[in-house]
Symmetry: C2
Subunit: 388 residues, 2 copies
Amino acid sequence: MDTLEILRNLAIIIICAKVFGLIAHKLKTPQVAGEIVAGLLIGPSLFNLVPDNDFLSGMAEIGVILLMFSAGLETDIEKLKKSGLKAIAIAVAGVSIPLVLGTVMYMCFYGFSAPGTAGYIEAVFIGTILTATSVSITVQVLKELGKISTEIGTTIMSAAIIDDVIGIVLLTAVIGLKDPDANPGLVCLKTAAFFALAFVAGIVIFKIMQMIDRRWPHTRRIPIISLVLAFVMAYIADKYFGVADITGAYVAGIILSSLDDSAYIDRKMDINSYMIFGPVFFASIGLQTNLRTVDMSILAFSVAFVLVGLFGKIAGCGLVSKLLGYKGSDCLKIGVGMMTRGEVALIVTQRGLKADIIDSRYFTAVILLIIISSIFTPIILKALYASE
Amino acid sequence: MDTLEILRNLAIIIICAKVFGLIAHKLKTPQVAGEIVAGLLIGPSLFNLVPDNDFLSGMAEIGVILLMFSAGLETDIEKLKKSGLKAIAIAVAGVSIPLVLGTVMYMCFYGFSAPGTAGYIEAVFIGTILTATSVSITVQVLKELGKISTEIGTTIMSAAIIDDVIGIVLLTAVIGLKDPDANPGLVCLKTAAFFALAFVAGIVIFKIMQMIDRRWPHTRRIPIISLVLAFVMAYIADKYFGVADITGAYVAGIILSSLDDSAYIDRKMDINSYMIFGPVFFASIGLQTNLRTVDMSILAFSVAFVLVGLFGKIAGCGLVSKLLGYKGSDCLKIGVGMMTRGEVALIVTQRGLKADIIDSRYFTAVILLIIISSIFTPIILKALYASE
């Protein structure tokens, strides 16, 4: 491709993503939603200014790896260890109810398929997309209300971390099964082998990185080596274990999350992310979505998807909270706090698209879920706290 | 291309570039030299681990734009205005003597060509590569010796900035002439039109950016808009004026160099640069160079190129300094201080390669010049100051 076109496309993507990101922010929705809308506008849906191409896909790929690496880096392992059984139970319910409901809903729309068939895997994948919570919106609201350090705040945050981990493992398993000749036993074995190896290698890598970090704190080599580690783990995961590359990058982030300099590393990743790779990734979602092909059937599916997505989390997390002894209004707060979706849902969708499991038309449903959950969570949460 | 391969290639490039960059730094040579050596090692010259491909070229292109934008941002316009006739005279001599000597030397090797022919343009281009000084090494040495604020230090720094500007204009003109049907008058007219337009637009852009910057200082939008501006100016320069895209990025940097937040912008660009795009650019130079094809004739040419490069600056800057009334040893200091070459020489070479003016084998000569000048400048400068 002509390198001049690269500059042109990047300029359009970055400025539009920033402008619409800011507008989204003003409207109290996540910037990510604005960046996707920017992609929709400049893509085939409307103005067709920027074609999706191999170079942009490559940049978007780096963007995804950076985002997932960052998500891993921000994991608070200590909090995870302390979060206890309550958070784990809530997370498990918050993953499994939307997973099952999403799968069933897909089958209601497109017919029941026998386990192991492509239709079945597609159905399960739609359920998988619904599993990962993105609590950044909830965290903002709780901070605003001064409730972030309450028991409910801590529970939501811990459960959200755990449900990310479960979601990633689930994604790994489903993608592993995509191959019609795949032996489910072998897939599970390879996945288990990856996590076992990552655990052992993780301890060694952490020790080495800690040594380097303490010897040369706050030097450029720290984020550079970390970035390379994320790329390498993503590559090894996918190439040798059939595990999604984003899982590798996420695990790399978790391994380094306890370093003294983990926030320093995260900041450098973040700058790379928000300047170039992030906008390209989110806009590329918009570029891959052609709203002109959206018909009534996709629209109906999207609405059902959003309802199941919201209700699944509220029901799953809420009911288990009730069983754990929380009072009614607190259960609702936990459920609503867990219902926001964000980057991870998009990344999972995009992985399914790349693995030929699902079609790009489901982006519409996921984008809708992100926007609607981000708008309603703050409103409902504030109302719930105000009514006390 | 497979996105997994992208991760693999980037991981190899970034880690090798960092390791060899650090080794180069320990050996008191510029990190850039180490990064190029890393590219040579992993490229076709030795281990052939990473193939040069379209994706990496695109990333390298972004890297070049970032580097030149950064160079522009770091321009101190106030110092430039004050630098006076002395620095201008030294810069002009420091550009023209190596330019003429380089052109003549090329013709001695490969035969004389009539003005306007491809051979002639190639010869002038070889001279053009020799024009741009990179004073970062000299600045380091002068700082170490505590001589950076002396008259000689200031003169060297001002002259180096001016010679960058002249070098860029020269590059623009030569690339404009590459087209056999190009009308030299039209090329000059378009080049002049670009700079005139950039000057007028620059004032408007600066005023607008200053307003944005003062309203929202130190926010993400500042570096993001700046980056987009660099891409846009690079695109417009090349697309509509036939001016090298790096010139556009450089001019964008100069326009923004007087913003309150110019250092803030530069820092963000620098992080993008050193983490991913910079290593890819410098390593890609190594990837494009195949040392296995280096024969005696290229080697002989390279040695002559290095000698002319070093001698041309010492003679040009030194003699004019003498005429301006500096004493003998100070003239030598100025000449030696101006003889280091770096990124810009490489970028110019790479642009000539892209425009089909020169062949990739000249990279060998340029790399040699950078390494040798970076090693000898500090040694000679220190000796000159010690002998006082």
